[in-house]
Symmetry: C2
Subunit: 383 residues, 2 copies
């Protein structure tokens, strides 16, 4: 049910002809209200796609009625002509639904630097509007897939209210603020400012901690829309908790479907001075190609972990650090501990624990291994 699990939402996912394969490539989600409160977080990449530039303006007033998303083209670095296509798409949605274009978010995903056909999008929008239904969430989730092998959806329910979401993403997974294309809907009745606060809290510990390949996208956007249809005003803490669960659920689905990966790796850093330090240290490991290749080879090469964290400026003494892999402490106080052979790295789920012994803070960053299939997928196909 995904984005249509919460009351007040309708969705559609159709084949508009943007993808040459004829696959679903255009999703539309409508918030029927009574509320139109919304919040969104965007990529922190300064190279921003046209839909990002548009959507940042639209969401500024905390009010969104509809969001249209296309796969098959990122509409990024396509100049003035590309921005016109984004604008035209929003106008087409507004016209067909009799709402204002300033309440329509646009998201695009696909190859950078290629023009989208505005006419194809316009016709697609008309067709999508005609197919909006309260059970269209699954088709919408399929329509935003690019190299994804499966659609990603998640639902959590609270006391009289529901949160549902969908996500796409299988490469360029290394957000700075938001990540990938994610739409989350709820029938809770919360104002835009509360949604914004909850969304930033939830993404900070979920999508922001995902660093599959160190490459930040130009098109990332996470949108939260509230219809207020349940009439329930949840406690902020309960809502944020459920929203965080939805975000983490979707993030782990993105991780599991990352291009060519054979391991999902949780890099947990404990004993940092601050949480930011813990994230910095964990991310330095997540981005180290030698470490990532070693995990692919089931090689518990803890020296590469220490070489990676030594490049950070987080306060800790490298010679006091412990490193454990899948429960086996292979490095103690910056020296060899249990034999490498004791570590079993054959399961996909991999846990690397780095204990800094410098303070009370901790954080986990999730990444993937560096595999032949990653190189193959990203060298053989333009994306």
């Amino acid at each position: 049910m995904t984005v249509t699990a919460a009351a007040g939402f309708e969705a559609a996912g159709i084949a508009a002809g943007i993808k040459r394969t004829g696959a679903l490539d255009l999703a539309l989600i409508l918030n029927r209200g009574p509320s139109a409160a919304a919040a969104a977080v965007f990529t922190s990449n300064r190279a921003k796609a046209n839909p990002i530039i548009w959507s940042q303006q639209v969401v500024a007033d905390g009010r969104v009625r509809a969001i249209v998303l296309n796969s098959g083209g990122a509409n990024c670095f396509t100049g003035h002509q590309g921005f016109q296509v984004t604008h035209r798409t929003a106008e087409a949605v507004a016209s067909a639904l009799d709402i204002g274009a300033g309440d329509v978010l646009v998201c695009s995903t696909g190859l950078i630097g290629e023009q989208l056909d505005g006419e194809v999008l316009e016709e697609g929008v008309v067709s999508a509007v005609a197919r909006l239904t309260t059970d269209g969430g699954d088709n919408a989730a399929r329509a935003i897939m690019t190299t994804d092998s499966v659609p990603k959806t998640a639902v959590r329910t609270g006391d009289g209210w529901t949160i549902g979401g969908m996500a796409k993403g299988a490469g360029m997974l290394a957000p700075g603020l938001a990540t990938m294309l994610v739409v989350i809907t709820t029938d809770a009745d919360l104002p835009a400012s509360d949604l914004d606060q909850a969304l930033r809290a939830a993404t900070r510990v979920s999508f922001d901690r995902l660093d599959s390949d160190g490459c930040m996208s130009t098109n990332d956007q996470v949108t939260l829309m509230a219809s207020g249809s349940s009439g329930v005003v949840p406690e902020a803490s309960a809502f944020t908790e459920a929203l965080t669960e939805v975000c983490l659920d979707l993030a782990m689905q993105l991780l599991a479907d990352a291009e060519g990966a054979s391991h999902e790796i949780a890099i947990e850093v404990r004993g940092a001075v601050t949480e930011d330090d813990a994230v910095t240290v964990a991310r330095s490991v997540a981005r180290n190609n030698l470490f990532k290749a070693a995990i692919f080879g089931n090689d518990p090469n803890w020296g590469r972990v220490l070489a990676a964290i030594g490049t950070t400026d987080a306060p800790f003494d490298p010679y006091l650090v412990d490193v454990s892999m899948n429960g086996v402490r292979v490095c103690h106080a910056g020296g060899p501990d249990a034999p490498r052979e004791d570590v079993d790295l054959t399961p996909r789920a991999t846990h690397v624990l780095v204990e800094l012994h410098a303070g009370p803070a901790s954080a986990t960053v999730w990444t993937n291994d560096l595999t032949h299939d990653y190189v193959h997928e990203n060298s053989a196909y333009s994306s």
Copy 2:
């Protein structure tokens, strides 16, 4: 001739039995003077190997008589016991040559986190001292190889003086200050302070601009030793220029022998506000796995270049940027320009030009592509 090209130096490269394969694994270089002036730059990784910790102390007074280097083990994160091995190795060299251990540099390379056998090293040193000759440079260059497929050496001559050098390195190529193991000798008569200044100027635009795989080593060291044997005191500018040529020559040999690479990629950034900005922008491209995989696939995917540079905080407008690949401008002012099909990426030598149009500064960073062989070499073997 390499490190024995300059008068006043003797070298040896022997098989001490550190490597199980029986290959050459221990190099020794002696400066017979009359000068013992020296300078060195070290990895900026805070995770430093024991030989780095030792050598930083030794070179502090600008005086070095000998340098001993082993492959087959990095002696990094091997604790107090590992430091004792480094110390014992320096003492063995000092004792056999009747010099002070405080004038003996030590370098190690190989797997992190494994103890070296002090006795094997000690016996190796005695054997190496016995084989010191003025034409031992080639053997020394071979003895420091790990996953290198060829030894790397370079020589330049000035007006009555000579500079010769050797280098090893094929992975973990992403220096912060110095890089890899490099020894350079000269018979010019210059004090340590001049050598230090020349060395920092030369490494800043050579080894420091090499970023093969984004992974900074724990053992990197570049050492420059002067015997003064020529009796010639060169002009600082002429000496620095020749030294820079030797460093660039060795750096390009490292680039060409990088593990599994199929392209050498020069990323030239022009029009930056400062040289540091140009380096930052170029390095962000050099470290982008999606870009590197695209080059492997001969795919001129300029969108990945822009997505990479958009993550930096260097001052420029992404929508004014031009990108050329091997002479074809595929992106102009942040939009599509010449067709991608016009770009031929089949040659190993690849040139990516990024014009920021923000200022007068420029810089080039060299990197490699991300290939199946890189993944294979770094997943199948511990190193």
